[in-house]
Every structure is written in C-alpha cells, then in structure tokens.
Amino acid sequence: MKIDVRNLSKRFGNFVALKNVDLDIASGELLALLGPSGSGKTTLLRIIAGLDFADGGEVYFAGENAANLNVRKRHVGFVFQHYALFRHMTVFENVAFGLRVRPRRERKPEHEIVKRVKRLLEFVHIEGLAERYPDQLSGGQRQRVALARALAIEPNVLLLDEPFGALDAKVRKSLRRWLRDLHGELNVTSVLVTHDQEEALEVADRIVVMGNGKIEQVGTPEEIYNEPANSFVFDFIGESVKLPVRIENGGIWIGSRRLATNDELPGTGPARLFVRPHDLTFGEVSEAPLQGAVRAVRRVGALSFADVRLDYGGDDLLVEASLPPETLVRPGDLVGLTPRRYRIYEDGAAESLTSAAL
C-alpha cells in the first residue's frame, strides 16, 4: 500500500521531534528511516502506525486520510524494538493473538487459525518453538516471533522499529539478509527505522536520512553514499575526514597550497572539505597538498589504515587514511596526502558548494 506523509509536525514539550515532514512511500518498497537518536525517525514511524499523534499534517493510506483510523483499524504490522512479545503466552499464542481478537463475524474458525499460525512459524523458521515462552528464546528467535505475529494479520504495511538493535553482530547480519529475502517474497510495503547506516545501506530500496526532525535526503543507497546532499548526510553516512580550507580567487586553499581551481566557486572565505578516508591517496611530500607524519598503522580486517598527523599551519589535525595494499609506510614516515574525491561545504551552510574528482 502507498503511504503519503504530508507536512507532519510533532513536538514533545519544548523538543521538536518532527518539522514539516513530507514523504512518499511507494507500494511494496522497503524504506529505511536512518538517523542519529533524536532525529525523529521513531516518532515518524509511530505516527504512521497510529501509536502517536501529530500536532499538524496528515498521513494518507492509499490516498485516504488516516486521521480517523486508530491503530486498531490501520492494519499495520508493528515490530517493536524490544519485540514486546506477550510474556505469558506461548510462541503459538503470540502469533495467533491478532487472529483471535478479531470481532466474531470476521474471525476465522479455530482449525484455520491453527493452520495459518503453523504456516507462519514455518515461514520464519521457528516451527519447533511453538510451545515455548518468550523468555525461553534467544534474541534472534524472539525477533522472528515478533515478525510472524505482525505478519499474521496480513498487514497493509510492515513497520519495524530498530528491529535488530538488541542483537549481536553476527545474528544481526544473518537476520538482515533474511529480512531482505523475506521482503522480496512478500512484497509488503515496509518501513524500517535504524540508526545503523550499514543496515540501511544493505537492506533498503530507498533510504530517508533524518536529522533534527527534518528529512535531509531521500534516495537509493548508492545516491545517499555517493552523492550526499549536504554536510549532515556526508558526515553521518560512512567515514569522513573534515578539513578546514579557504576559498580564495576561485581556488581551494589548504594552508598555503592550492588544491584546485574552480571558477564556479563564489566569493572568499572559510569552508570545510569532506573526504572519505579511502579517497585520500598517498603521494610525494613535495607535491601533495597535505603533508604529515604517520603516527600509527592499524589493520582492521582486510583493510589497513594509517593515522596521519597533518601539519596544518600550526594546528595539528589527526586524520585516518586507508592504505592501498601495496603502499608501505611506517610510523614516523613523512607522507603526502591528496584528496581524490571530495566535497566542499561553506562554513555554516549545509549545501555543497562543489564536488570534484581529481
């Protein structure tokens, strides 16, 4: 089902959780709401579900204003952050709950309920756990029960609030892939809230990056990663190195060295250069716009990183640059660094002045 969010606002006391948020969710897509804590992503999800109410704005389910539909009538499958399983009921009864509480004339006969629950438990691969209680399950198993319970009511939309937040890294990874496959099979419109960019980038069709109650960017994972709309998104997604630079006479200056000339650059003044660690190439000290001494070399899995202390006109700045496999540096070496792909943001402004690939 298609969901449209129009001009949504919400405040809790003095805290503004959402500011005039507009968002179109296409039917059948898996959308991730990504942002740091306090960015309003969970509030947006709860308002879509009908668990919270907006101060202003509307939510449309398939073009129909949902203002008069309470959470009971919206038919949303909500998966809570800590699962919220009914602790006094078995796994079977948890999944059957949504089918049993229907008004009598809509309720299915008992044997159909049993059949449907069994099928769902098989679907999420926990058919052997039907008679267990939630506190006898592992985190990953609980998550599967929560999902089966939400799917039992054949929801119009599946809403997941930090579904993997409480799991350890390994389980998380396998569940992520599983969710992706599951969504491919069911094709139910799904909205996932997460603060984990890796999760969003891996699972979602589209990502909505949120910050301070506003939507900063909406796009596919590739767009978000490769073309961050502003400094907030650049900083939040992936690793980033920030360097203070100066714009002068149509050029970008790092200290006394010119990085590039660009006639489109307006005016004169301080700005910030954002670059990914893997977009910093090592080079000759005399030619590269940045120089510094290697402080330490670290291996993280298959990758190597060098911490380089930049001599920055008196100010020291420690940056982390990824080392190409063939490059050999030792702590103490003097190296040159060149930003290959970067973006320049004017101080105080979010919009990118320019982006360049050298």
């Binding site: 668990l51 009971r72 006094h88 949504g98 319970r149």
Partner: protein, 308 residues
C-alpha cells in the same frame, strides 16, 4: 527481575513494616551464601550468641504474645470460647467487619487499578504529586484519617446540616466506617501495582492494539495476566488491614453495640469490661486471619519467584 524490583519498592513503600524476607532478600542471600561462609570471621561462641539473641527476641515479641492470645482465648474451655464468638454482638461485629472489608477491597481494587494505570501508562502534569498523595494514608495517623470524616460529615462539619436536613446518616453508621476503611487501605493495591506496571511499560499493550485488539481485550488478555500475582498480593494486604483497622474506624463508628462495632472495636469493649476470655476469643479470630494472610502471602511470593 520484575519481581525483585516490585518487592524492593514495596518494602520501601511500606517502610518495611511487617517483613523483610521478600524474594529479593532471599535470592540475595542464596547468591552470597558461599562467599559469606568463607568470609565468616566470627568465632563459634559469637555466632551462637547472635543466633540466640535473634531467636530470643523473636520469641519474646512475636511467638509468646501470639501463643498468649490463644491460651487466654481457651483458658475457660471450648464452651466459653464458642459462646463468646456466638454472642449476638460478636456475630454482628464479625459480619460488619467482613462486609466492610469486602466492600473496601472491591473499591480499592477498582480505583487502585485506575490510579496505577493512569500513573504508569500516561504522561500528565502533577503525576509526581499524585504518586506522593497515594502514600498519604500510610504516613498519616489513622486517628487523623477518622477525624477528617467527622469534620466533613459531623453536625458541625461541611455537609453536616445538609445531611441532617435530608435525613442521611453517614457518621456513626456504616457509610462512615466504610469510607474510613477505604481511605486507610487505599495505597495497598495501587502501591503494589505501580512499580510492577512501570517496569513492564506500555509496549505489550501497544502491540495488542496494533494487532487489532480492543481496549478491554487488551486489558483482560495482556495487562491483567502480567499483573495478576501482584494484584492478588495487594488485595491480600488490603483485606488484612481493612479487617484489622482500629484507629480511624474507632473515631467514626460511634461504638453502637450490635450495630457499628467492628471486630477490633468489639474486642476493645470486651477488654474494657474485663471480659478477658471473650476479648481474646474474638482476638484469636483476627490473629488467625493474620496467620492465614501470612501463609498465603508466602505462597504467593514463592509463586512470583518461580515465575521469575
């Protein structure tokens, strides 16, 4: 973990008045026992002395008085005991006590649930004040609680004239006794539920609603099963206090024999008239009630602990 919280809070709430052996303490003890044994540096005589002091104190202040009540009650044989209990005034007192206790438990169950629900599931201004106010009947002397109702409904009170004009009798009659008892026993159910429900949060209810359950279904199938043992516990304590309440009831009852005397008041009258055997016979009933309450409470606690 839930019940550790609840028990600790309850003890704090009740000032640890009548017991300090909740599940929390017990499991604490179990966890520390092996280490405690190693760290035990007292010599044998000291240990024996400490145990003797503890046992002696318990015997002196709890066991002996309890035994004395029953000994006195039966000092003139079974016949005297039963005739004291079957005396019309005694029967009337017992009946009144049971009715008052049943009514106040029912009322406090209802309002205690509402108060706990409101406090734990909603956000509103003045919440902290409300939580504090719930404890008021515990911190105030029962005599004062009784006097409040005299001030309200007595002839010189706020509603006194209006009540007299309309020929409604509250003070020195059943309504005042019931009101005073409800007031004194109000905190038990609410106090028991608030920490429990706070700990459990609202997400299970939200999950039930999102799955299409109505408010009533959600309460009956999700909330109630989660709080039922705590609720029973609160009812038990509320009932025990309602039956045993003396101070507040004494002020508002008017001590009319066969009409407005509850069991504790009846016992006092008998005692003042030097009918010791009869006084202790009725008292033994109340003591028996206390023992039954304690046994049930222990059983409930074990149940709570096993659930954890």
């Amino acid at each position: 973990m839930t019940f550790i919280e609840a028990t600790t809070n309850r003890q704090a709430g009740f000032g640890g008045a009548e017991e300090n052996s909740g599940p929390a303490r017990r499991s604490d003890f179990a966890a520390r026992a092996p280490r405690g044994a190693k760290a035990n540096t007292e010599t044998l005589p000291v240990r024996i002395l400490l145990v003797l002091i503890a046992l002696g104190f318990l015997t002196l202040f709890i066991v002996i008085p309890l035994v004395a009540v029953f000994l006195q009650a039966f000092s003139k044989g079974w016949t005297a005991y039963f005739s004291a209990l079957t005396d019309p005034d005694a029967i009337s007192a017992i009946r009144l006590t049971i009715i008052v206790a049943a009514c106040s438990v029912a009322v406090n169950l209802f309002f205690g649930l509402i108060a706990a629900w409101t406090i734990t599931k909603y956000r509103f201004p003045g919440k902290t004040l409300l939580i504090t106010l719930i404890d008021l009947p515990f911190s105030i002397s029962p005599v004062v609680s009784g006097l409040v109702f005299v001030l309200l409904f007595g002839l010189q009170g706020f509603f006194g004239h209006w009540l007299q004009d309309n020929d409604i009798k509250i003070l020195f009659a059943f309504p005042a006794i019931l009101l005073a008892t409800i007031f004194v026993t109000f905190p038990f159910v609410a106090r028991e539920l608030i920490p429990l429900m706070q700990e459990q949060g609202t997400t299970e209810e939200e999950a039930a609603l999102s799955l299409g359950a109505s408010g009533l279904t959600t309460f009956l199938k999700v909330t109630l099963p989660n709080i039922k043992w705590g609720l029973l516990y609160g009812i038990l304590l509320c009932n025990a206090r309602a039956m045993g309440e003396f101070g507040a009831v004494s002020v508002v009852s008017g001590h009319i024999r066969g009409e407005t005397n509850t069991m504790p008041l009846h016992i006092e009258i008998l005692y003042n008239e030097y009918q010791l055997t009869a006084a202790f016979a009725v008292a033994s009933l109340l003591a028996l009630l206390a023992i039954v309450t304690l046994v049930l409470k222990a059983a409930l606690e074990r149940k709570l602990e096993r659930k954890r």
